[in-house]
Point group: C2
Chain length 131, copies 2
Amino acid sequence: MFIQIEPLSNVPIYEQVTRQIIEGIARGDMGPGDTLPSVRSLAADLGVNMHTVNKSYHELEAKGIITIRAKSGAIIRSTEERALTPEQLQQIEKNLKPVVAEGMVLGATVDQIEHMMKKVFADLQLPAEGV
Amino acid sequence: MFIQIEPLSNVPIYEQVTRQIIEGIARGDMGPGDTLPSVRSLAADLGVNMHTVNKSYHELEAKGIITIRAKSGAIIRSTEERALTPEQLQQIEKNLKPVVAEGMVLGATVDQIEHMMKKVFADLQLPAEGV
DNA sequence: TATTTGTTATATAATAAGTATAACAAATAT
DNA sequence: ATATTTGTTATACTTATTATATAACAAATA
């Protein structure tokens, strides 16, 4: 699997796992209907505890990105199933705000920030385009 | 002062303080050369401990946003002093990535995300325009 | 000179993060 | 049918983080 844990990071391991799975889906490495590896096997792969991965999966479920079927596995939901509610949109905006504010205070221009946005989009989408 | 603490938030208090000071600067509520309130007075205002605010100030200093003069106070640095190094730009991009990725996976379009960006920009800049 | 300032130190408590084992019952594979 | 794998649940433990509470120090300021 594509996940790489940075043990010295200030970002918790379960959060690193969550983010990298999300980025993997955005990048098209895996898509709707695909099953995630079992918490035990992924934990063994990453060299971390089962519960750490389990926490990440439940975070993904809370975000509406996957469905966990008890005693079976975790499946990536389809785009139709993931509604994109107004609450979710608002949450994204709330997450965006401190990042943008920090960038501006550090002296980044609107153009610079929008340029970075495009880089992030490209980084997440281009590999899929290459198929 | 404009800072509002949400005690039930999963975001640590010192981090809430840091973010809201940054947003205050971005919004133009306070600018370069201005001094932040003393850690003791702000802590009293917010009803939190001195060290919590102190931690926030040192985080702001580490980000290059303020300068702490020992036994004197904390001053907001000028835009010229805040260099905006390539490392900082890269950090902003790194912060942006998981937020954008999550938005996309949840089904937000590029246009929707860019529209939210503009809302955030407006929210941070318009009040200053009104002066 | 008295007050305020950031700094430093120590102590304590609560919560979060992470690991370690173990057992259960349902789902799946053989 | 049996064995394995699965997510779930429970308990226990360690460590780090967050936050508070006091106190004292020395420099800056009023």
